[in-house]
Amino acid sequence: MKFKNARTVVAVVAFAALAVCLIANVAAGTWCGFGAADIAVLCPVGALLSMVAAKTLIPRAVISIVVAIALVLLLGRLFCGWVCPVTLWRRVKEFFTPVKKLEERKAADAKVNQALAAEEIAALKAAPSGHACGACGACGAKRNAKFDSRHAVLGGAVLTTAVFGFPVFCLVCPVGLSFAAVALLVGLFGAGDLNWSLLFVPAMLVIELVFLRKWCGRFCPISAFMSLFSRFSRTGMPVIDNERCLETAKETACSRCATACSFDVNLRHPDLGELPLHDCARCGDCIDACPTNAISFRVVSGKPAPFADAFASLRGRAASKERPASPALDDLEPEEA
Protein backbone atom coordinates (compact mmCIF):
# COMPACT_ATOMS: atom_id res chain seq x y z
CA MET A 1 0.00 0.00 0.00
CA LYS A 2 1.21 3.48 -0.75
CA PHE A 3 2.10 5.62 2.21
CA LYS A 4 -0.53 8.14 1.24
CA ASN A 5 -3.29 5.58 1.46
CA ALA A 6 -1.87 4.02 4.60
CA ARG A 7 -1.77 7.29 6.44
CA THR A 8 -5.24 8.21 5.26
CA VAL A 9 -6.49 4.96 6.74
CA VAL A 10 -4.68 5.64 10.01
CA ALA A 11 -6.12 9.15 10.27
CA VAL A 12 -9.62 7.96 9.39
CA VAL A 13 -9.48 5.20 11.99
CA ALA A 14 -8.16 7.58 14.65
CA PHE A 15 -10.78 10.21 13.91
CA ALA A 16 -13.59 7.69 13.67
CA ALA A 17 -12.57 6.09 16.96
CA LEU A 18 -12.71 9.44 18.76
CA ALA A 19 -15.99 10.31 17.05
CA VAL A 20 -17.48 7.03 18.23
CA CYS A 21 -16.29 7.82 21.76
CA LEU A 22 -18.09 11.15 21.52
CA ILE A 23 -21.29 9.48 20.39
CA ALA A 24 -21.01 6.57 22.82
CA ASN A 25 -19.98 8.72 25.80
CA VAL A 26 -16.56 7.27 26.38
CA ALA A 27 -14.32 9.90 27.93
CA ALA A 28 -11.39 9.55 25.54
CA GLY A 29 -11.56 13.21 24.62
CA THR A 30 -10.34 14.66 21.35
CA TRP A 31 -6.92 15.75 20.12
CA CYS A 32 -7.54 18.94 22.13
CA GLY A 33 -7.34 16.85 25.27
CA PHE A 34 -6.88 13.15 25.04
CA GLY A 35 -6.61 10.34 27.51
CA ALA A 36 -8.14 7.54 29.48
CA ALA A 37 -9.40 7.83 33.06
CA ASP A 38 -7.23 10.38 34.81
CA ILE A 39 -4.22 10.11 32.52
CA ALA A 40 -4.62 12.77 29.87
CA VAL A 41 -2.57 15.15 27.80
CA LEU A 42 -3.66 18.40 26.23
CA CYS A 43 -2.90 19.74 22.81
CA PRO A 44 0.31 21.69 23.44
CA VAL A 45 -1.04 24.85 21.82
CA GLY A 46 -4.27 24.58 23.80
CA ALA A 47 -2.23 23.97 26.96
CA LEU A 48 -0.06 27.01 26.27
CA LEU A 49 -3.03 29.24 25.46
CA SER A 50 -5.07 28.20 28.48
CA MET A 51 -2.15 29.02 30.76
CA VAL A 52 -1.73 32.37 29.04
CA ALA A 53 -5.46 33.04 29.34
CA ALA A 54 -5.68 32.03 32.98
CA LYS A 55 -2.31 33.66 33.72
CA THR A 56 -1.34 30.72 35.91
CA LEU A 57 0.75 27.59 35.54
CA ILE A 58 -1.43 24.53 35.15
CA PRO A 59 0.57 21.42 36.09
CA ARG A 60 -1.08 19.14 33.59
CA ALA A 61 -0.68 21.72 30.85
CA VAL A 62 3.04 21.97 31.56
CA ILE A 63 3.36 18.18 31.52
CA SER A 64 1.43 18.04 28.25
CA ILE A 65 3.78 20.50 26.63
CA VAL A 66 6.80 18.53 27.81
CA VAL A 67 5.29 15.30 26.45
CA ALA A 68 4.52 16.99 23.15
CA ILE A 69 8.06 18.31 22.84
CA ALA A 70 9.48 14.85 23.56
CA LEU A 71 7.29 13.30 20.87
CA VAL A 72 8.25 16.01 18.38
CA LEU A 73 11.94 15.47 19.11
CA LEU A 74 11.48 11.81 18.31
CA LEU A 75 9.13 11.98 15.37
CA GLY A 76 8.85 15.57 14.18
CA ARG A 77 5.52 16.49 12.70
CA LEU A 78 4.36 12.89 12.45
CA PHE A 79 1.00 14.04 13.85
CA CYS A 80 0.45 16.09 10.69
CA GLY A 81 1.23 13.24 8.35
CA TRP A 82 -0.62 10.44 10.04
CA VAL A 83 -3.13 11.66 12.59
CA CYS A 84 -4.44 15.20 12.17
CA PRO A 85 -8.01 15.28 10.83
CA VAL A 86 -6.97 18.13 8.56
CA THR A 87 -5.00 15.55 6.57
CA LEU A 88 -8.38 14.00 5.84
CA TRP A 89 -9.99 17.29 4.85
CA ARG A 90 -7.09 17.75 2.47
CA ARG A 91 -7.80 14.38 0.91
CA VAL A 92 -11.45 15.32 0.56
CA LYS A 93 -10.48 18.58 -1.12
CA GLU A 94 -8.16 16.69 -3.43
CA PHE A 95 -10.99 14.32 -4.28
CA PHE A 96 -13.17 17.18 -5.43
CA THR A 97 -10.47 18.92 -7.44
CA PRO A 98 -10.63 17.99 -11.12
CA VAL A 99 -7.93 15.46 -11.98
CA LYS A 100 -6.76 17.66 -14.80
CA LYS A 101 -6.18 20.58 -12.48
CA LEU A 102 -4.28 18.39 -10.03
CA GLU A 103 -2.09 17.08 -12.79
CA GLU A 104 -1.42 20.55 -14.12
CA ARG A 105 -0.46 21.72 -10.68
CA LYS A 106 1.84 18.75 -10.15
CA ALA A 107 3.42 19.31 -13.55
CA ALA A 108 4.05 22.95 -12.78
CA ASP A 109 5.58 22.04 -9.39
CA ALA A 110 7.72 19.37 -11.01
CA LYS A 111 8.97 21.88 -13.53
CA VAL A 112 9.93 24.38 -10.87
CA ASN A 113 11.62 21.77 -8.71
CA GLN A 114 13.52 20.26 -11.62
CA ALA A 115 14.69 23.66 -12.78
CA LEU A 116 15.93 24.47 -9.28
CA ALA A 117 17.68 21.14 -9.08
CA ALA A 118 19.26 21.57 -12.52
CA GLU A 119 20.49 24.98 -11.50
CA GLU A 120 22.09 23.69 -8.33
CA ILE A 121 23.63 20.68 -10.06
CA ALA A 122 25.06 22.85 -12.79
CA ALA A 123 26.51 25.30 -10.29
CA LEU A 124 28.08 22.51 -8.25
CA LYS A 125 29.53 20.87 -11.34
CA ALA A 126 31.06 24.14 -12.44
CA ALA A 127 32.46 24.89 -9.02
CA PRO A 128 36.06 23.92 -8.30
CA SER A 129 36.27 21.06 -5.82
CA GLY A 130 36.56 22.17 -2.22
CA HIS A 131 34.68 25.39 -2.87
CA ALA A 132 32.78 26.99 0.00
CA CYS A 133 29.10 26.96 -0.86
CA GLY A 134 28.11 29.71 1.50
CA ALA A 135 30.34 32.23 -0.24
CA CYS A 136 29.28 31.49 -3.77
CA GLY A 137 25.56 32.16 -4.11
CA ALA A 138 25.34 30.71 -7.61
CA CYS A 139 22.70 28.23 -6.49
CA GLY A 140 20.05 30.85 -5.91
CA ALA A 141 18.59 32.01 -2.64
CA LYS A 142 17.48 29.80 0.21
CA ARG A 143 13.71 29.51 -0.13
CA ASN A 144 12.78 28.93 3.47
CA ALA A 145 13.57 30.49 6.79
CA LYS A 146 14.03 29.39 10.38
CA PHE A 147 10.81 31.15 11.30
CA ASP A 148 7.93 31.87 8.98
CA SER A 149 4.34 32.99 8.85
CA ARG A 150 3.14 30.08 10.98
CA HIS A 151 5.26 31.28 13.85
CA ALA A 152 3.79 34.73 13.41
CA VAL A 153 0.31 33.22 13.68
CA LEU A 154 1.35 31.36 16.84
CA GLY A 155 2.62 34.65 18.25
CA GLY A 156 -0.66 36.31 17.33
CA ALA A 157 -2.58 33.51 19.02
CA VAL A 158 -0.64 33.96 22.25
CA LEU A 159 -1.02 37.73 22.10
CA THR A 160 -4.76 37.76 21.49
CA THR A 161 -5.27 35.10 24.16
CA ALA A 162 -3.38 37.23 26.67
CA VAL A 163 -5.42 40.31 25.75
CA PHE A 164 -8.86 38.75 25.68
CA GLY A 165 -8.41 36.19 28.44
CA PHE A 166 -9.56 33.07 26.64
CA PRO A 167 -7.93 30.76 24.09
CA VAL A 168 -9.06 32.66 21.00
CA PHE A 169 -7.30 30.47 18.46
CA CYS A 170 -9.17 27.40 19.74
CA LEU A 171 -12.36 28.94 18.34
CA VAL A 172 -11.04 28.58 14.81
CA CYS A 173 -8.63 25.66 15.11
CA PRO A 174 -9.53 23.25 12.30
CA VAL A 175 -8.56 20.27 14.45
CA GLY A 176 -10.93 21.28 17.23
CA LEU A 177 -13.61 22.31 14.76
CA SER A 178 -13.50 18.87 13.15
CA PHE A 179 -14.59 17.43 16.47
CA ALA A 180 -17.00 20.28 17.04
CA ALA A 181 -18.63 19.23 13.77
CA VAL A 182 -19.12 15.70 15.10
CA ALA A 183 -20.64 17.05 18.33
CA LEU A 184 -22.94 19.30 16.29
CA LEU A 185 -24.15 16.35 14.27
CA VAL A 186 -24.75 14.39 17.47
CA GLY A 187 -26.77 17.33 18.81
CA LEU A 188 -28.63 17.80 15.56
CA PHE A 189 -29.69 14.21 15.11
CA GLY A 190 -29.86 13.32 18.80
CA ALA A 191 -31.78 16.29 20.16
CA GLY A 192 -32.75 18.26 17.06
CA ASP A 193 -30.46 21.03 18.22
CA LEU A 194 -30.31 23.84 15.64
CA ASN A 195 -27.86 26.62 16.44
CA TRP A 196 -25.45 29.16 14.97
CA SER A 197 -22.47 26.86 15.33
CA LEU A 198 -23.95 24.77 12.54
CA LEU A 199 -23.12 27.69 10.26
CA PHE A 200 -19.97 28.93 11.96
CA VAL A 201 -18.09 25.64 12.18
CA PRO A 202 -18.39 24.56 8.53
CA ALA A 203 -17.84 28.14 7.35
CA MET A 204 -14.62 28.40 9.35
CA LEU A 205 -13.40 25.03 8.08
CA VAL A 206 -14.11 26.04 4.50
CA ILE A 207 -12.38 29.41 4.88
CA GLU A 208 -9.29 27.83 6.39
CA LEU A 209 -8.97 24.75 4.28
CA VAL A 210 -10.40 25.89 0.95
CA PHE A 211 -9.89 29.64 0.67
CA LEU A 212 -6.68 30.09 2.62
CA ARG A 213 -4.03 28.52 0.46
CA LYS A 214 -1.87 26.12 2.40
CA TRP A 215 -3.25 26.32 5.92
CA CYS A 216 -0.78 23.70 7.12
CA GLY A 217 2.37 25.25 5.75
CA ARG A 218 1.56 28.91 6.21
CA PHE A 219 -0.92 29.38 9.05
CA CYS A 220 -1.23 26.48 11.44
CA PRO A 221 0.17 27.46 14.87
CA ILE A 222 0.24 23.80 15.89
CA SER A 223 2.67 23.10 13.09
CA ALA A 224 4.57 26.25 14.15
CA PHE A 225 4.87 24.84 17.66
CA MET A 226 6.05 21.49 16.39
CA SER A 227 8.59 23.00 14.02
CA LEU A 228 10.16 24.92 16.90
CA PHE A 229 11.34 21.58 18.26
CA SER A 230 11.36 19.27 15.27
CA ARG A 231 14.48 21.09 14.06
CA PHE A 232 16.38 19.21 16.74
CA SER A 233 15.00 15.83 15.75
CA ARG A 234 17.54 13.38 14.40
CA THR A 235 15.32 10.33 14.29
CA GLY A 236 12.75 8.82 11.99
CA MET A 237 13.48 10.97 8.96
CA PRO A 238 13.46 9.77 5.36
CA VAL A 239 17.03 9.53 4.13
CA ILE A 240 18.24 9.41 0.54
CA ASP A 241 20.75 6.80 -0.54
CA ASN A 242 23.05 8.97 -2.62
CA GLU A 243 24.40 5.98 -4.52
CA ARG A 244 20.97 5.44 -6.03
CA CYS A 245 19.54 8.95 -6.21
CA LEU A 246 19.53 10.17 -9.82
CA GLU A 247 20.71 13.60 -8.81
CA THR A 248 23.82 12.51 -6.97
CA ALA A 249 24.61 9.27 -8.82
CA LYS A 250 23.71 10.42 -12.33
CA GLU A 251 23.74 14.19 -12.01
CA THR A 252 20.22 14.27 -13.44
CA ALA A 253 17.76 16.84 -12.14
CA CYS A 254 14.87 14.74 -10.81
CA SER A 255 13.48 16.12 -7.53
CA ARG A 256 10.35 14.01 -7.71
CA CYS A 257 10.60 13.65 -3.94
CA ALA A 258 10.18 17.39 -3.59
CA THR A 259 7.20 17.49 -5.94
CA ALA A 260 5.52 14.59 -4.16
CA CYS A 261 5.93 16.01 -0.67
CA SER A 262 2.53 16.92 0.78
CA PHE A 263 4.19 19.21 3.28
CA ASP A 264 6.20 21.46 0.98
CA VAL A 265 9.52 20.03 2.05
CA ASN A 266 12.32 19.41 -0.41
CA LEU A 267 14.19 16.37 0.85
CA ARG A 268 16.84 16.46 -1.88
CA HIS A 269 17.51 20.18 -1.71
CA PRO A 270 16.50 21.15 1.84
CA ASP A 271 17.18 24.84 1.28
CA LEU A 272 14.96 24.96 -1.78
CA GLY A 273 11.74 23.67 -0.24
CA GLU A 274 9.00 26.07 0.72
CA LEU A 275 9.43 24.73 4.23
CA PRO A 276 12.69 23.58 5.80
CA LEU A 277 13.47 19.88 6.07
CA HIS A 278 12.61 19.74 9.76
CA ASP A 279 8.96 20.23 8.82
CA CYS A 280 8.96 16.71 7.39
CA ALA A 281 5.82 14.96 8.58
CA ARG A 282 7.23 11.45 8.12
CA CYS A 283 4.50 10.89 5.58
CA GLY A 284 6.46 8.77 3.13
CA ASP A 285 5.11 10.33 -0.06
CA CYS A 286 8.68 10.97 -1.21
CA ILE A 287 9.53 7.32 -0.67
CA ASP A 288 6.67 6.30 -2.96
CA ALA A 289 7.64 8.86 -5.57
CA CYS A 290 11.33 8.06 -5.91
CA PRO A 291 11.94 6.29 -9.26
CA THR A 292 15.00 4.43 -8.00
CA ASN A 293 13.70 3.60 -4.51
CA ALA A 294 16.56 5.55 -3.04
CA ILE A 295 14.62 6.90 -0.05
CA SER A 296 13.76 5.09 3.16
CA PHE A 297 12.91 5.96 6.74
CA ARG A 298 15.82 5.57 9.11
CA VAL A 299 15.39 5.07 12.82
CA VAL A 300 18.42 7.22 13.48
CA SER A 301 18.68 9.59 10.57
CA GLY A 302 21.30 11.93 11.89
CA LYS A 303 21.81 15.53 10.91
CA PRO A 304 20.46 16.19 7.42
CA ALA A 305 23.21 17.04 4.94
CA PRO A 306 22.90 19.90 2.47
CA PHE A 307 22.69 18.88 -1.17
CA ALA A 308 26.14 20.27 -1.91
CA ASP A 309 27.72 17.82 0.52
CA ALA A 310 25.77 14.86 -0.79
CA PHE A 311 26.72 15.84 -4.30
CA ALA A 312 30.37 16.31 -3.42
CA SER A 313 30.53 12.93 -1.70
CA LEU A 314 29.97 11.10 -4.99
CA ARG A 315 31.63 13.57 -7.27
CA GLY A 316 35.14 12.27 -7.22
CA ARG A 317 33.92 8.93 -8.41
CA ALA A 318 31.69 10.43 -11.06
CA ALA A 319 34.66 12.20 -12.60
CA SER A 320 36.84 9.09 -12.71
CA LYS A 321 34.30 6.85 -14.35
CA GLU A 322 33.01 7.34 -17.85
CA ARG A 323 29.33 7.80 -17.18
CA PRO A 324 26.57 6.55 -19.41
CA ALA A 325 24.26 9.20 -20.82
CA SER A 326 21.57 10.23 -18.36
CA PRO A 327 18.64 7.89 -18.70
CA ALA A 328 15.40 9.37 -19.99
CA LEU A 329 13.27 10.24 -16.98
CA ASP A 330 10.15 8.66 -18.41
CA ASP A 331 11.73 5.24 -18.28
CA LEU A 332 12.09 5.58 -14.59
CA GLU A 333 8.53 6.13 -13.43
CA PRO A 334 7.97 4.27 -10.20
CA GLU A 335 5.77 1.26 -10.64
CA GLU A 336 2.13 1.89 -9.82
CA ALA A 337 1.18 0.16 -6.62
Binding site: G33, G190, N195
Partner: protein
Protein backbone atom coordinates in the same frame (compact mmCIF):
# COMPACT_ATOMS: atom_id res chain seq x y z
CA UNK B 1 17.32 38.11 -2.57
CA UNK B 2 13.84 38.74 -3.99
CA UNK B 3 12.77 35.33 -2.69
CA UNK B 4 13.81 36.27 0.80
CA UNK B 5 11.88 39.50 0.67
CA UNK B 6 8.72 37.86 -0.50
CA UNK B 7 9.10 35.29 2.27
CA UNK B 8 9.28 37.87 4.99
CA UNK B 9 6.55 39.95 3.37
CA UNK B 10 4.29 36.93 3.44
CA UNK B 11 5.22 36.28 7.05
CA UNK B 12 4.27 39.83 7.91
CA UNK B 13 0.99 39.79 5.98
CA UNK B 14 -0.16 36.45 7.34
CA UNK B 15 1.02 37.19 10.86
CA UNK B 16 -0.68 40.57 11.02
CA UNK B 17 -3.77 39.38 9.16
CA UNK B 18 -4.29 36.37 11.40
CA UNK B 19 -3.66 38.36 14.56
CA UNK B 20 -6.15 41.03 13.52
CA UNK B 21 -8.71 38.34 12.65
CA UNK B 22 -8.21 36.63 16.03
CA UNK B 23 -8.37 39.99 17.82
CA UNK B 24 -11.64 40.70 16.03
CA UNK B 25 -13.01 37.37 17.16
CA UNK B 26 -11.66 37.84 20.68
CA UNK B 27 -13.19 41.29 21.03
CA UNK B 28 -16.61 39.80 20.34
CA UNK B 29 -16.49 38.72 23.97
CA UNK B 30 -17.52 42.26 24.87
CA UNK B 31 -20.78 41.77 23.00
CA UNK B 32 -21.68 39.78 26.07
CA UNK B 33 -22.46 36.15 26.50
CA UNK B 34 -25.40 34.21 27.72
CA UNK B 35 -25.13 33.04 31.31
CA UNK B 36 -25.05 29.26 31.25
CA UNK B 37 -25.51 26.58 33.87
CA UNK B 38 -22.16 24.83 34.19
CA UNK B 39 -21.23 21.30 35.27
CA UNK B 40 -20.01 20.81 38.85
CA UNK B 41 -16.74 22.64 39.40
CA UNK B 42 -17.43 25.06 36.57
CA UNK B 43 -19.11 27.76 38.63
CA UNK B 44 -16.17 30.16 38.36
CA UNK B 45 -16.88 31.51 34.86
CA UNK B 46 -13.54 33.28 34.51
CA UNK B 47 -11.68 30.09 35.36
CA UNK B 48 -13.81 27.98 33.04
CA UNK B 49 -13.65 30.11 29.90
CA UNK B 50 -9.95 30.77 30.23
CA UNK B 51 -8.88 27.19 30.87
CA UNK B 52 -11.31 25.05 28.90
CA UNK B 53 -9.61 23.61 25.81
CA UNK B 54 -12.88 22.21 24.45
CA UNK B 55 -11.78 18.60 24.57
CA UNK B 56 -15.32 17.37 25.33
CA UNK B 57 -14.11 14.84 27.87
CA UNK B 58 -16.57 16.12 30.47
CA UNK B 59 -19.38 15.75 27.95
CA UNK B 60 -18.33 12.20 27.20
CA UNK B 61 -17.83 11.30 30.84
CA UNK B 62 -21.26 12.37 32.07
CA UNK B 63 -23.22 9.16 32.64
CA UNK B 64 -26.46 11.15 32.64
CA UNK B 65 -25.61 12.86 29.36
CA UNK B 66 -26.72 16.24 30.59
CA UNK B 67 -23.65 18.19 29.44
CA UNK B 68 -23.53 19.66 25.93
CA UNK B 69 -21.12 22.05 24.19
CA UNK B 70 -22.38 25.62 23.91
CA UNK B 71 -23.03 27.15 20.53
CA UNK B 72 -21.39 30.33 19.27
CA UNK B 73 -24.90 31.76 19.50
CA UNK B 74 -24.44 32.09 23.26
CA UNK B 75 -21.29 34.15 22.81
CA UNK B 76 -17.73 33.56 21.61
CA UNK B 77 -16.56 33.06 25.17
CA UNK B 78 -19.00 30.21 25.59
CA UNK B 79 -18.53 28.53 22.26
CA UNK B 80 -17.72 24.84 22.71
CA UNK B 81 -17.54 25.12 26.51
CA UNK B 82 -19.66 22.66 28.49
CA UNK B 83 -23.05 23.56 29.89
CA UNK B 84 -25.98 21.70 31.34
CA UNK B 85 -28.96 20.81 29.18
CA UNK B 86 -31.93 19.23 30.94
CA UNK B 87 -34.61 19.93 28.34
CA UNK B 88 -33.55 17.16 25.97
CA UNK B 89 -35.49 14.59 27.98
CA UNK B 90 -38.87 13.48 26.82
CA UNK B 91 -41.24 15.23 29.24
CA UNK B 92 -43.26 13.56 31.95
CA UNK B 93 -41.19 10.40 32.33
CA UNK B 94 -40.81 10.04 36.06
CA UNK B 95 -38.98 6.76 35.68
CA UNK B 96 -36.78 7.81 32.76
CA UNK B 97 -35.25 11.23 32.96
CA UNK B 98 -31.72 12.57 33.15
CA UNK B 99 -30.40 15.03 35.72
CA UNK B 100 -27.21 15.73 37.61
CA UNK B 101 -26.91 13.70 40.80
CA UNK B 102 -23.25 14.77 41.26
CA UNK B 103 -22.53 11.23 40.14
CA UNK B 104 -23.81 9.90 43.48
CA UNK B 105 -25.01 6.74 41.84
CA UNK B 106 -22.09 6.08 39.48
CA UNK B 107 -19.13 7.52 41.30
CA UNK B 108 -19.97 7.91 44.97
CA UNK B 109 -20.72 11.60 44.68
CA UNK B 110 -17.53 12.63 42.94
CA UNK B 111 -18.53 14.29 39.66
CA UNK B 112 -16.99 12.34 36.79
CA UNK B 113 -16.99 15.46 34.60
CA UNK B 114 -14.72 17.35 36.95
CA UNK B 115 -12.66 14.23 37.51
CA UNK B 116 -11.78 13.80 33.81
CA UNK B 117 -11.34 17.48 32.97
CA UNK B 118 -7.66 17.70 32.03
CA UNK B 119 -7.29 21.48 32.06
CA UNK B 120 -8.65 22.47 35.44
CA UNK B 121 -11.55 24.29 33.85
CA UNK B 122 -13.85 22.19 36.00
CA UNK B 123 -12.31 22.35 39.44
CA UNK B 124 -14.28 21.34 42.50
CA UNK B 125 -13.86 23.59 45.51
CA UNK B 126 -11.56 22.19 48.18
CA UNK B 127 -14.46 21.78 50.57
CA UNK B 128 -16.67 20.08 48.00
CA UNK B 129 -19.37 17.72 49.14
CA UNK B 130 -22.17 16.39 46.94
CA UNK B 131 -24.58 18.40 49.08
CA UNK B 132 -22.68 21.67 48.99
CA UNK B 133 -22.30 22.02 45.24
CA UNK B 134 -24.96 24.21 43.63
CA UNK B 135 -25.18 24.33 39.84
CA UNK B 136 -27.93 26.88 39.55
CA UNK B 137 -31.49 27.42 40.64
CA UNK B 138 -34.76 26.28 39.12
CA UNK B 139 -36.96 29.16 38.03
CA UNK B 140 -40.65 28.55 37.53
CA UNK B 141 -42.48 30.59 34.95
CA UNK B 142 -46.03 31.12 36.19
CA UNK B 143 -47.11 32.29 32.72
CA UNK B 144 -46.46 28.90 31.20
CA UNK B 145 -46.67 26.48 34.13
CA UNK B 146 -49.70 24.27 33.69
CA UNK B 147 -50.58 24.38 37.39
CA UNK B 148 -50.84 28.15 37.24
CA UNK B 149 -52.59 28.28 33.89
CA UNK B 150 -55.15 25.54 34.00
CA UNK B 151 -55.06 22.28 35.80
CA UNK B 152 -53.23 20.46 38.54
CA UNK B 153 -49.72 19.28 37.65
CA UNK B 154 -47.28 17.64 40.02
CA UNK B 155 -44.38 16.50 37.89
CA UNK B 156 -41.67 18.87 39.13
CA UNK B 157 -42.85 18.72 42.71
CA UNK B 158 -42.85 14.95 42.77
CA UNK B 159 -39.59 14.44 40.95
CA UNK B 160 -37.82 16.86 43.26
CA UNK B 161 -38.87 14.77 46.25
CA UNK B 162 -37.92 11.65 44.33
CA UNK B 163 -34.34 12.77 43.69
CA UNK B 164 -33.65 14.98 46.67
CA UNK B 165 -35.72 13.31 49.37
CA UNK B 166 -38.41 14.90 51.55
CA UNK B 167 -35.95 16.94 53.60
CA UNK B 168 -34.01 18.55 50.83
CA UNK B 169 -36.76 18.83 48.23
CA UNK B 170 -37.00 22.38 46.98
CA UNK B 171 -40.47 22.51 45.47
CA UNK B 172 -43.44 22.98 47.74
CA UNK B 173 -47.09 23.85 47.14
CA UNK B 174 -47.88 27.46 47.80
CA UNK B 175 -51.36 26.92 49.19
CA UNK B 176 -51.38 23.30 50.11
CA UNK B 177 -52.92 24.10 53.47
CA UNK B 178 -55.48 26.62 52.27
CA UNK B 179 -57.49 24.13 50.35
CA UNK B 180 -57.78 20.44 49.85
CA UNK B 181 -58.68 20.86 46.24
CA UNK B 182 -55.79 19.56 44.18
CA UNK B 183 -56.12 22.01 41.35
CA UNK B 184 -55.50 25.02 43.53
CA UNK B 185 -52.05 23.71 44.48
CA UNK B 186 -49.34 25.83 42.95
CA UNK B 187 -45.71 24.66 42.89
CA UNK B 188 -43.09 27.11 44.16
CA UNK B 189 -39.32 26.73 44.20
CA UNK B 190 -37.49 27.37 47.43
CA UNK B 191 -34.33 28.84 45.97
CA UNK B 192 -32.41 28.23 49.17
CA UNK B 193 -32.90 24.49 48.92
CA UNK B 194 -32.59 23.98 45.15
CA UNK B 195 -29.19 22.83 43.88
CA UNK B 196 -30.01 23.05 40.17
CA UNK B 197 -29.97 19.31 39.58
CA UNK B 198 -32.36 19.68 36.66
CA UNK B 199 -34.74 16.84 37.40
CA UNK B 200 -37.74 19.17 37.43
CA UNK B 201 -36.83 20.67 34.07
CA UNK B 202 -36.25 17.20 32.65
CA UNK B 203 -39.77 16.06 33.45
CA UNK B 204 -41.71 19.32 33.03
CA UNK B 205 -44.58 18.77 30.58
CA UNK B 206 -45.55 22.38 29.97
CA UNK B 207 -43.92 23.19 26.64
CA UNK B 208 -45.39 20.11 25.06
CA UNK B 209 -48.84 20.35 26.55
CA UNK B 210 -48.95 24.06 25.94
CA UNK B 211 -47.54 24.30 22.46
CA UNK B 212 -50.38 26.69 21.70
CA UNK B 213 -48.86 29.30 23.98
CA UNK B 214 -45.62 29.51 22.06
CA UNK B 215 -43.42 28.76 25.01
CA UNK B 216 -39.79 28.81 23.99
CA UNK B 217 -38.72 26.77 26.97
CA UNK B 218 -40.19 24.58 29.65
CA UNK B 219 -42.06 26.23 32.50
CA UNK B 220 -39.40 25.28 35.02
CA UNK B 221 -35.84 25.79 33.93
CA UNK B 222 -32.56 25.74 35.83
CA UNK B 223 -30.82 29.12 35.55
CA UNK B 224 -27.32 30.10 36.59
CA UNK B 225 -27.14 31.48 40.12
CA UNK B 226 -26.16 35.03 39.31
CA UNK B 227 -29.00 35.71 36.94
Amino acid sequence: MTEKNSLSRRTLCIGVGATVAMAGLGSLRYLGSEALVRPPGGQDEENLVSKCVHCYRCIEACPEQVIVPASIGSGVLNMRTPHMEFSDCYPGQLDDFRYCDMCAERNGGVPLCAEVCPSGALALPADYTPDSEVLGVAVLNTETCIAYRSSFCAFCHDVCIQVRGEDKAAIYYQNADASDALDTRLPVVDAAKCNGCGACEAVCVSAQAGSAMNASERAIVVKPLDE
